[in-house]
């Protein structure tokens, strides 16, 4: 398995280079270094000399990807792409175009993202599994029918609606929680309640349907019929046999998103005023801060690769028949 993990990690290198190159090209198709300089210096009274000085001091004065004037390897290494990218592989994110240390900011801002994402994921899974099992238990009845209809309605609604509706009902109308904001320590609890509730409720529709499908697939298998034939109660069949065997596809969906929890949610963080990595990314895009955009895309790619690897490893843990080669 170790060889498999090493091989997968080596595969990750060209993937990350490709992602980085693609991000670089996409970003600079719509933004020139002059644009970046102007967005940092402002529009008013900026001279061409000031723009040149800014580009020089931030390393944007070099050729983008290929330096025809350099010698040998320098043709590729004495470029904006190389200079800005190579340090990422050592997780040195450098400084944002406005001068802040990106690594420090990521370290600060991942905690608020996790504070929302982890409870939303855990509570969401519990609620969705419960509803999924509940509907699967009453499969073929009117409870199943109306449950699925409700799920389809819930998953058809935009997440923005849940956010605004949640803020309107729970905070504006009933005054039960703050509309938005964040704090540290235990003071954060009252701010987390609403985004977590919104996150869980907005995921019930798709989550429940997904789990119901998984459970129904398992319920139709021979070992379940055997268990019933042995005279086991339906609860015992569901909880002891079906649930455990449905774990593999469950893990696929859950483990792969675990590392991405760090990245936060773009919309939720923006609406609830949570200073997480989701809003950090949005800020970077809006400010044309290439250093932040590049770092966040790179980090997201690394975490996604880690997520896939963890999923593979988790298969071997829950199903002894699976071997990684």
């Amino acid at each position: 398995m170790i060889a498999y993990i090493v091989r997968r990690m080596l595969y990750a290198i060209p993937i990350l280079i490709g992602v980085n190159l693609l991000t670089f090209i996409l970003f600079f198709v719509v933004n020139t270094p002059d644009d970046i300089a102007r967005s940092q210096l402002g529009d008013r009274r900026v001279t061409a000399q000031a723009i040149d000085t800014w580009k020089r001091s931030h390393g944007y004065h070099k050729p983008m990807i290929y330096n025809g004037n350099a010698q040998g390897l320098g043709k590729l290494t004495d470029t904006v792409f190389f200079k800005k990218s190579v340090r990422l592989f050592a997780f040195d994110f450098g400084r944002s175009d406005s001068g802040r240390d990106i690594g420090y900011d990521i370290g600060q801002r991942m905690w608020p993202s996790l504070a929302i994402a982890v409870p939303t994921l855990v509570v969401g899974i519990l609620v969705n599994i419960t509803f999924g099992l509940f509907i699967a238990f009453f499969r073929g009845t009117y409870i199943d029918f109306w449950g699925v209809v409700t799920c389809v309605i819930l998953l058809s609604v935009s997440s923005l609606f849940y956010i605004i509706g949640g803020q309107y009902l729970l905070s504006k109308l009933f005054h039960l929680v703050p509309i938005s904001g964040y704090d540290t320590g235990t003071n954060a609890l009252k701010f987390l309640l609403l985004p977590v509730i919104v996150g869980v409720v907005s995921g019930i529709g798709s989550g429940t349907r997904w789990y119901r499908t998984l459970f129904l697939e398992e319920i139709g298998k021979d070992y379940v019929r055997t268990a019933r034939a042995k005279g086991l109660s339906e609860q015992r069949v569901l909880f002891r046999h079906v649930l455990r065997n449905a774990l593999i596809p469950l893990l696929t969906g859950i483990v792969v998103v675990l590392p991405l929890l760090f990245m936060g949610s773009l919309i939720v963080e923006s609406f609830f005023g949570v200073p997480g990595l989701g809003s950090y990314t949005i800020d970077g895009i809006q400010r044309q801060d290439f250093a932040i955009v590049r770092s966040m895309v790179f980090l997201g790619s690394v975490l996604y690769i880690i997520g896939l690897l963890l999923t593979d490893i988790s298969y071997t843990l829950v199903d002894p028949r699976v071997r990684l080669q």
Partner: protein
């Protein structure tokens, strides 16, 4: 005992006894003298050498003190001393070094000296950069790696110190502006005026290139020819020629003092990696200091214990007196102990928090405009009953800004001083109905512009004397857009009858450079097309992003565009220079975006720009405005009107569009606020019971079904 416990339980969960569940602030702060507000955009820089936007000035203007400031209540906007003892003394110098009389001709003036005397005894805020031990050595100027490791925020430095503000600190900051690595946005402008500025920039660049990145460069060792520290409290700035607007720059944070110790302190290795920099942790002498600096969440300003003291202004007009703005006259400021600004990116939560009393003031977003404002039959804005019932007050002020629609003067059809192009531009100016634009797209928040100079700026005329006679008539005591027939007549005279080009026989096609393509923008663009369609002109919209738009403007490839300008200072020069030929954006990378060039206008501008406000200057301005109106390089667009709302417990709020250091004037009544919040935010618990009940009821059929299934036989 059991009864007592039951009673206690009932009382404890009854709404009246509950703390506010939706209070975003700690309950312990409820009765404290704190102002609560919000900010929507994270500031980029808090270093006065770099900051140049209102969202940054909202913080640093309360901390840094330039020598001058704007009087809070007086209109037109008036400069008064802040840390200066009096207004700077201006001395004119001839080319031979002789001193010239104050009324010397502009052409004879080679230099102007601004002599500034600051008040003695002003202290900096407590700051670790100024902390010293008993041997008078700086405590934190040679930090070890271990010390740096233990620090995460500035407040982790336990010791702080202060020292007196001296004239050399102002000189130091001017030298910082010349530091090319600090990227001061006004360095280019100052290089034109301050003697020796460019030379100093070159010297600093040369010195920096020999140092490691980020290392401390002591600017005290560099000489700036145009800035002289006369003694501890006096300094002199020498600028080239006569430049009366230089005084206005002295009221901006660019010219606030920075102690050299701060630069030395922040340049130490390891601090930059923790974002502990002068760009994020200001050090000033103002009424407030930054107590909490988390631009991703919250910025907290706390009263500076070393503040030198200032008194609320005693002068104001009748209206100020009538609405109680002079009730605090002569009282020591600041009035609030601290101010908490929360980051609120979305307008909906911001608005709702204001209505709940958790923000003391608010602007009005377009989606909540109808809830807050209604227009009376006379067209005047007033609060809705809902707002009035809450005691909310509305403040309005026409901004010292202009949004204009420009014609590119370099364009072969639209541009130039020829009669044909001029009449075409005049015809379009009449046809595009900006009153309608303001009504539809800005909820009435704006005033149609009659020329380049906004209300409140010297040279602006009110009433009939102020209308643009090429676009408006004065009818029934108000300006009225000329009849559409006039526009068609002008168009015909220009050679485009009904929008058809006489020479080609085809419809005239013009292009509009639009930024953005969202739903709101689409409606605006449709409206724009219709305005041109009225004349038979086909308007093609070229939608693009702001970067490409800016590029087109720099290359002079646009035709018609919408842009704006916000005043740096309340002087007509700051608007008329937008039409000065040598400031052409395409040719000189200047701010004249329409590339307008009229030698007569330029000549008058050169005479006017360095004059003090007097009758002669006013006459020149009138002439310039008349020329510009006739040439119509812009459709003059509109001056936006700022609407802001304040709760009844907030006092001393008067819109001042030039001053940024206004926090010190504001007073709040925390007790009244606490009472109102309590009334408005009682938690409503019955929905929780209802949801629980519904969930319970919904489970019953499942239980019945479950039991039925359990009891049923297999076959």
């Amino acid at each position: 005992m059991h009864r007592l416990a039951t009673l206690f339980f009932c009382v404890s969960i009854s709404p009246a006894s509950l703390a506010l569940w939706n209070n975003p602030y700690p309950d312990s702060k409820t009765n404290e003298n704190i102002l609560y507000s919000s900010f929507s955009e994270r500031p980029k820089h808090l270093d006065p050498v770099r900051s140049y936007s209102s969202d940054e000035y909202a913080f640093i203007a309360q901390i840094y003190e330039p020598p001058l400031q704007y009087h809070y209540l007086k209109r037109p906007y008036t400069l008064v001393p802040l840390t200066a003892v009096s207004m700077p003394r201006v001395i004119y110098i001839g080319a031979d070094g002789s001193r010239l009389p104050h009324d010397a001709p502009v052409i004879d003036i080679a230099f102007s000296d601004y002599e500034i005397q600051i008040q003695p005894g002003i202290q900096y805020q407590p700051h670790p950069a100024l902390a010293r031990n008993i041997q008078d050595q700086y405590l934190y100027h040679s930090l070890s790696g271990e010390q740096v490791n233990q620090v995460h925020e500035l407040s982790d430095f336990k010791q702080t110190g202060a020292r007196e503000l001296i004239a050399a600190d102002y000189a130091y900051q001017i030298k910082r502006m010349a530091n090319p690595r600090l990227h001061s946005p006004i360095a280019g402008v100052m290089a034109q005026y301050i003697v020796g500025f460019s030379e100093l920039s070159e010297k600093i660049e040369a010195a920096l290139s020999e140092l490691e990145d980020g290392a401390f460069l002591d600017l005290r060792q560099f000489r700036l020819e145009g800035v002289t520290v006369v003694d501890r409290y006096n300094y002199r700035i020498r600028v080239r020629g006569k430049y009366p607007q230089f005084l206005y720059w002295q009221a901006m944070p660019f010219f606030a003092p920075i102690p050299w110790e701060a630069e030395h302190f922040y340049a130490q290795p390891g601090l930059k990696e923790k974002n502990i920099t002068l760009d994020w942790y200001p050090i000033g002498t103002g009424p407030f200091m930054l107590a909490e600096n988390n631009p991703n969440l919250r910025m907290v300003m706390a009263r500076n214990p070393n503040f030198h003291g200032e008194h609320y202004p005693a002068a104001g007009d009748e209206a100020d007196h009538a609405i109680g703005l002079l009730a605090d006259k002569g009282k020591p400021m600041p009035f609030v102990d601290s101010a908490v600004y929360s980051l609120e990116k979305e307008s909906i939560p911001r608005w709702n928090k204001f209505l709940q009393g958790f923000y003391d003031n608010s602007g009005i977003a377009s989606d909540s405009f109808d809830q807050a404002i209604q227009f009376n039959p006379q067209g005047q804005a007033a609060l809705t009953a809902e707002m009035s019932d809450r005691g909310i007050r509305l403040s309005t002020a026409v901004a010292t800004s202009i949004y204009y629609m420009g014609f590119n003067y370099l364009h072969p059809v639209l541009g130039g001083n020829g009669e044909r192009a001029r009449k075409l531009r005049q015809a379009i100016s009449i046809a595009v109905d900006f009153e309608e634009f303001i009504s539809i797209f800005r909820n009435g928040r704006g005033v149609a512009a009659q020329g380049p100079i906004p209300p409140g700026i010297f040279g602006h005329h009110q009433g009939q004397a102020g209308i643009n006679p090429y676009v408006y008539d004065w009818v029934d005591g108000r300006p009225q857009r000329k009849p559409f027939g006039i526009a068609k007549k002008l168009l015909r005279e220009a050679g485009y009858p009904d929008g058809m080009d006489n020479t080609t026989g085809k419809s005239l096609v013009l292009h509009f450079e639009a930024i953005g393509s969202g739903p709101d923008e689409k409606a605006r663009l449709n409206w724009m097309r219709k305005q041109f369609q009225k004349l038979g002109i086909q308007l093609i919209v070229r939608a693009t992003d702001y970067n490409r738009f800016r590029e087109k403007m720099l290359k002079g490839k646009s035709e018609i565009f919408l842009w704006g300008w916000n005043a740096d200072y309340p002087d007509p020069e700051n608007f008329l220079f937008l039409l000065y030929g040598p400031n052409s954006k395409a040719k000189k990378n200047g701010e004249n975006a329409s590339n307008y060039a009229n030698p007569e206008f330029d000549h008058l501008f050169e005479q006017m720009k360095n004059m003090e406000n007097n009758a002669k200057r006013k006459k020149l301005i009138d002439q310039m405005v008349t020329i510009a109106r006739r040439d119509a390089p812009w459709m003059w667009g509109f001056h936006p009107k700022d609407f802001s709302l304040h709760h009844t417990w907030v006092r001393n709020t008067k819109p001042n569009l030039m001053a940024n250091n206004t926090l010190k004037y504001v007073r709040v009544d925390p007790k009244l606020r606490a009472t109102q919040r309590q009334d408005w935010n009682q938690p409503i618990l019955w929905p929780l019971g209802l949801i629980g009940g519904l969930l319970g009821i919904s489970v019953i059929p499942a239980i019945i079904s479950f039991r039925r299934r359990e009891k049923s036989t297999a076959l």
